[in-house]
């Protein structure tokens, strides 16, 4: 695991060194046309947004959207066919891999925030995530206030960890935090009783519960702890490519097609286990579809502190 962190660091350093060379590149559209294909950054396991089917195949809401976007771009560029490659990425390497040109469009579960906007660009918001709490159905816990002194699980390397810390500070509560190394591991902490609650993005919680041995034993409870826009990511300073991606997505939003695609991944049974996540689009997600924008997470928080 140590080699992994060193490797990530090496990647970041390599990306940093490579960045200036790509600043003179004449854009992703030209790259796609010249090379006859595009590389899509995907996640192994990001709930219904982006996940692997095995065999190097990937699917999910964002992967589906990206495939439609790339099909539009293919038409726009007048290409008879486009070779789409999948490149699995992680939270640690997705931004460096985007900057150094390994991936052209990332269709995973990346939160759009101001810090990241310095390094990459985001398409219009296609999904708004709400951070909530999963507990065992028989635990009697219904709100975050009841978690004082309890073990609360979350996943290392996610924004939920910082969120919990802020919440603890603001409300004077004291959680015992336990960190899973990935979402499946954090869920195992809840399942085995090492944790009383699991704080995470609700679509990930819903997906994990749906896939568990006894979905009826768990439920998602309590207030919405945070709201974050999850966007398709691309290289910064490439307005032509961003416009092509945005136009294609806005077309899906205006026609209402995006709601059908959402339905397919979040409300119908999905492979590989053929279970349904069962998560209706949140009001914030519907609002983002109605008024396409690429506002960062900070704008959502501001809106919330004003209203609630």
């Amino acid at each position: 695991m140590n080699t992994k962190s060193i490797f990530s660091a090496a990647l970041i350093v390599a990306a940093l060194a490579a960045t200036p060379a790509f600043a003179q590149d004449s854009g992703t559209l030209k790259k796609i046309k010249d090379s006859g294909g595009a590389t899509m950054g995907v996640r192994e396991s990001s709930g219904g947004l982006s996940f692997t089917l095995g065999d190097g195949k990937f699917a999910g809401f964002h992967v589906d959207l990206c495939e439609r976007v790339l099909a539009d771009i293919r038409k726009q560029l007048g290409m008879s066919q486009m070779n789409i490659k999948f490149q699995p990425v992680t939270s640690q390497n997705r931004i460096p891999l985007m900057q150094n040109g390994t991936i052209d469009i990332e269709c995973g579960s990346t939160t759009n925030n101001t810090a990241r906007q310095k390094d990459v660009a985001f398409a219009v918001t296609t999904f708004v995530e709400e951070v909530r709490i999963a507990v065992k159905a028989n635990s009697g816990i219904t709100s975050i206030g009841q978690l004082n002194g309890k073990n609360v699980a979350t996943t290392t390397g996610t924004t939920s960890v910082q969120l919990l810390r802020k919440h603890e500070r603001a409300n004077g509560v004291d959680f015992k935090e336990v960190f899973g190394k990935d979402h499946a591991d954090s869920f195992l902490l809840l399942e085995s009783g090492r944790a009383d609650a699991f704080v995470m993005d609700s679509q990930i919680l819903a997906g994990l519960i749906a896939k568990s041995k006894t979905p009826g034993d768990y439920k998602i409870v309590g207030e919405i702890l945070n709201v974050e826009p999850i966007n398709i990511m691309m290289r910064k300073d490439d307005p032509a490519f961003k416009k092509a991606v945005d136009d294609s997505l806005i077309k899906l939003m205006k026609s209402g097609e995006i709601a059908k695609i959402y339905d397919k991944w979040f409300l119908q049974p999905i492979p590989p286990a053929n279970v349904r996540i069962g998560l209706s689009p949140s009001d914030a997600t519907k609002a983002a579809w109605a008024n396409p924008n690429d506002k960062p997470a900070e704008d959502y928080t501001k809106k919330c502190t004003a209203n609630c």
Binding site: S5, S8, A9, Q92, T156, G157, R165
Partner: protein, 248 residues
């Protein structure tokens, strides 16, 4: 390099504001405070695991060279069990599987489980080195000790082990440094050591390069300090002419 931001370590972990002294106060902590505390966890896990590894590794290594077949079997079985299962899998077994079989283990802090897992994993490797050290000695030494009436424990205590341990100090040094680096898997069971800090802090601050360089430096310092300590011990216990190639 121009856009590096070392101020990241001085940021408060709650609101991300830069604290002028770089150390938090009044219950607030900065990323520097957090990294130093993570370093403490890394050092604690490493040193305690090393102690466990040395005790069990030496014991099992010795058993594997005794005349008793059952003791040799025990030592061999121990070594093969712990060195043939990947470390991360062993940690998961200690943390998730064993407590499901033995409910009492559920209340054991994960810190102790990691020390046990890392310590026993490394003990298998040390056992192999101890066995090799003892077997590298000429057979005549053991026979001579027995001939002058030493019991088996005395043979080991006064004749075999003093030489064997001197011979294996160099590989033991590597193993002790490995334990520091292997301690990074403890992040998987929620120990907030350096790797967990790096994974989390780079996500929160988006300053992965600075964070990883800081963490890398601390790993290097820790492992190198262990190297220097064992090098010092090696020089102090050296007996001139004892080891054939010891022409230092």
């Amino acid at each position: 390099m121009a856009n590096w931001d070392w101020q990241v370590f001085c940021k408060n972990t709650i609101d991300g504001e830069v604290v002028s002294s770089c150390f938090g106060s009044g219950g607030d902590i900065t990323y520097l405070d957090w990294m130093l505390s993570a370093w403490g966890w890394t050092v604690s896990v490493s040193l305690l695991s090393l102690a466990v590894a040395l005790v069990f590794g030496s014991l099992m290594g010795i058993l594997r060279t005794t005349p008793s077949r059952s003791l040799v079997f025990l030592g061999n079985a121990w070594t093969e069990l712990f060195r043939n299962i990947p470390l991360l899998v062993q940690i998961m077994l200690w943390y998730h599987v064993l407590p499901a079989l033995i409910p009492a283990l559920k209340d054991v802090p994960s810190f102790l489980l990691v020390v046990a897992a890392l310590g026993l994993f490394t003990s298998a490797r040390i056992s192999e080195q101890v066995r090799a050290g003892i077997q590298s000695l000429p057979r005549g030494q053991r026979m001579a000790a027995q001939a002058i009436g030493f019991t088996l424990p005395q043979t080991y205590r006064y004749v075999l082990l003093p030489m064997a341990f001197r011979i294996i100090i160099p590989p033991l040094t590597s193993e002790s440094m490995n334990i520091v680096k292997n301690s990074s898997v403890a992040f998987a069971v929620s120990i907030s050591e350096l790797t967990l800090f790096a994974l989390q802090a780079q996500e929160e601050t988006s300053r992965g390069i600075e964070i990883y360089l800081g963490v890398t430096a601390l790993y290097f310092i820790t492992a190198f300090a262990i190297n220097r300590v064992l090098h010092f011990i090696e020089q102090r216990v050296q007996v001139p002419g004892l080891i054939a190639a010891g022409g230092k």
